[in-house]
Amino acid sequence: MLRLEGLEIRQGDFALDADWALADGSVCAVMGPSGGGKSTLLAAIAGFLAPRAGRVSWDGRDLTALPPAARPISILFQDNNLFPHLTVERNLALGIDPKGRLDAARRREIEAVLDRVGLHAMGARRPAALSGGQQSRAALARVLLMDRPLVLLDEPFAALGPGLRMEMLDLAREVLAGEGRTLMMVSHAPEDAARIASDIVLVDAGRAAAPAPAGPLLETPPPALRAYLGR
């Protein structure tokens, strides 16, 4: 279980506090106005940003002092989720082993995952030879290979068209959340949240609210969410 205990993030004038836990297996949408700190919250959980105070823990283990790669977390950023100079296979291999070693067993493992995300036999390609949707699939494939219990999505599909974005979200939920992982995703679109999220964290006015069930929240939004949604 992900737990944020008295977390205080400060960056110059910017402030964000959080103090809550997220149940295992949740698909949690992080929503709120631009500049509210949605990405910052994910960065702090992933370990790219040291909080001023408080703890991030997973199943009771304190993660706060751990570097990003040592946390039980994988993260997809808004862009640059694949190294453009490496083939898809190489990119995925780095998800299994940071030293990038490849043997026959690992190649088979990578092939199987590529099949699963619909990129059959595309391992030898460089990212530039893939479409935007295929690049997203390759990045998801690496997350699958890394097999960490908590997956953070910082709008990795934002550059895709609406249809393709939905497709990717469905795929993400199917292949990632389906195996009992916890998923946290920054989202700008209420329809995304309505489609796949079980919970919503509202980030606004310097506070990340505790996760609340998505259905009721979207049906009768509190004032802050209502203002954000424009209803």
């Binding site: 790669a69 640059n80 100079h85 490496l86 460089r126």
Partner: protein
């Protein structure tokens, strides 16, 4: 990234620059003194650098303006040519300049036809001429960048208002860019050696570095050499502060192919004149290198190919060392690393070499060490330029992909192999080519310590020139030029090949 490789590299650079100076001063028993000749060398060094920088910048302004606002056939080739003097061995350029301005050169032939007396290229004016030849292109590139950086909308706005473009846009830009260009060129000219050795000399045209050479070569006066080296450090530090204060311009930026959209009419002939004269000034010596060199190819001196092999070996050794040291420093970053990447700019390569010999003397004889020590000194001297190229490239790779690498746990060698090295291939090829070319053309330590059997190509040229075998020297110059360009081209290509993505 681990910080210890950068620490070792910084230690090595500090030892090579300050440590060697300390060794020389220590060997001299700290009997540090200067004579009147040294004071005049310091004075000459300062004013010739100031004059060379002022002339380079002054001539560069009309050329840069013409290149900024005119589109013409060959413009791209000319802009490329402006990058060439940087990899042109100094001694080779001197041969070309003598071919144009020297006795029996093109200029004196023309003056003779007009019934005017011959002019000499030797002396202080020859030194300044050569410095302008080397640095005019740099000044043009720097100022052209300033012109191109003015947003097109401002020219449109000025045109729609009928406002004077010169006073409104161009003069403020020049006031911002020209001092930086002046300071950079001033700094480069302060440590001039090969030009002063071949065209200068004597009481009125001796630079500090040349005075160091003379005190080491003829008097083996280590005390004088170390004081002069300290003076040179001081001068360069002052110049470096000037560069800092003037706002150092980006020397190796790309993107000079854009032409500024202009709306005023006229000035066409003036622009054509500026570009034509600059092209003539730059290309005539290059043409003379070929014209004088080709006959010389028929009568190449003995030992040429052995010297060529030594030059190439030294260049390859220096290149490998420079790349490793620069990468270590750039990846470490921080004040110590940055300072180490700048220090060699102020160092005397002659003192560096002498210091190394003093330290290594108990272990091996100077003759055996001439080539390795030269490679070491060359590597150090090329480091600031390589760092200038690789620093921004590494920073960019980290900015774009560092988070991904961190999230995957890429550290140390794995990060270097899978993230940094593939992302910086092109600048790395360029830096390697630059280092190899600089090292090929270097005439410094080797001139002090090489025996008869250890000459590199530049030293072979100097020996031929001082024996007045100019035709053979020109032939060697052509071989040296071809090898330098070939090395540069191979490395630069190597960085570009297969650089998909």
């Amino acid at each position: 990234m681990a910080r210890w490789p950068g620490g070792i590299a910084a230690g090595l650079v500090l030892a090579l620059t300050l440590g060697t100076l300390g060794a020389v001063a220590w060997r001299a028993g700290f009997a540090l003194r200067l004579g009147p000749a040294d004071l005049s060398a310091i004075w000459f060094t300062t004013w010739q650098a100031a004059l060379s920088a002022a002339l380079s910048v002054a001539f560069a302004v009309p050329v840069a303006r013409a290149l900024a606002r005119r589109r013409f056939a060959g413009r791209g080739a000319l802009v490329t040519l402006l990058g060439a003097p940087f990899i042109l061995p100094v001694i080779v350029a001197v041969i070309g300049l003598i071919g144009v301005f020297g006795r029996g050169g093109l200029l004196n032939d023309a003056l003779g036809l007009a019934g005017l007396g011959p002019v000499s290229v030797y002396g202080w004016h020859g030194v300044v001429l050569a410095h302008v030849f080397f640095n005019l292109p740099l000044a043009v590139r720097l100022i052209l960048q300033g012109w191109i950086a003015i947003p097109a909308e401002r020219f449109r706005l000025a045109a729609s208002l009928g406002a004077p473009v010169g006073r409104l846009l161009e003069w403020p830009m020049l006031r911002a860019v020209a001092p930086g260009a002046f300071a950079v060129i001033f700094l480069i000219c302060l440590t001039s050696f090969a030009v002063a050795l071949t065209l200068g000399g004597g009481p009125r045209a001796t630079t500090v570095e040349l005075a160091i050479y003379q005190s080491l070569r003829f008097d083996f006066d280590l005390g004088r050499a170390s004081v002069l080296a300290m003076v040179q450090f001081g001068l360069c530090a002052a110049a470096a502060l000037m560069v800092q204060a003037a706002g150092a311009p980006e020397t190796l930026g790309a993107g000079l192919d854009r032409v500024v959209e202009r709306f005023e009419t006229g000035g066409r002939w003036r622009d054509a004149g500026a570009v034509g004269l600059a092209a003539l000034f730059l290309m005539a010596p290059l043409a003379m290198i070929v014209a004088r060199g080709v006959p010389g190819l028929l009568d190449l001196p003995g030992g040429l190919w052995a010297a060529a092999l030594r030059s190439v070996s030294v260049a390859l050794g220096a290149t490998a060392l420079t790349l490793v040291l620069t990468l270590a420093l750039v990846l470490r970053d921080g004040t110590l690393a940055r300072l180490s990447a700048l220090l060699p700019l102020a160092a005397s390569s002659l003192v560096m070499g002498t210091g190394l010999f003093i330290v290594l003397y108990p272990l091996a004889s100077p003759r055996d060490l001439a080539l390795p020590v030269t490679a070491l000194a060359n590597a150090a001297m090329a480091l600031p330029f390589a760092a200038r190229v690789l620093g921004p490239a590494v920073a960019q790779a980290e900015a774009a992909h560092g988070r991904l690498a961190t999230s995957l746990g890429l550290r140390g060698w794995a990060r270097l192999r899978w993230l940094i090295l593939p992302r910086i291939r092109r600048p790395m090829g360029f830096a390697a080519g630059l280092t190899a070319a600089l090292s090929m053309g270097d005439l410094g330590v080797i001139a002090l310590f090489a025996g008869d059997g250890e000459a590199t190509l530049p030293l072979l040229m100097v020996r031929l020139m001082s024996a007045y075998r100019m035709e053979q020297a020109a032939g060697v110059a052509l071989v040296l030029l071809a090898l330098s360009l070939a090395l540069f081209w191979i490395f630069d290509r190597g960085g570009r090949a297969d650089a998909a993505a």
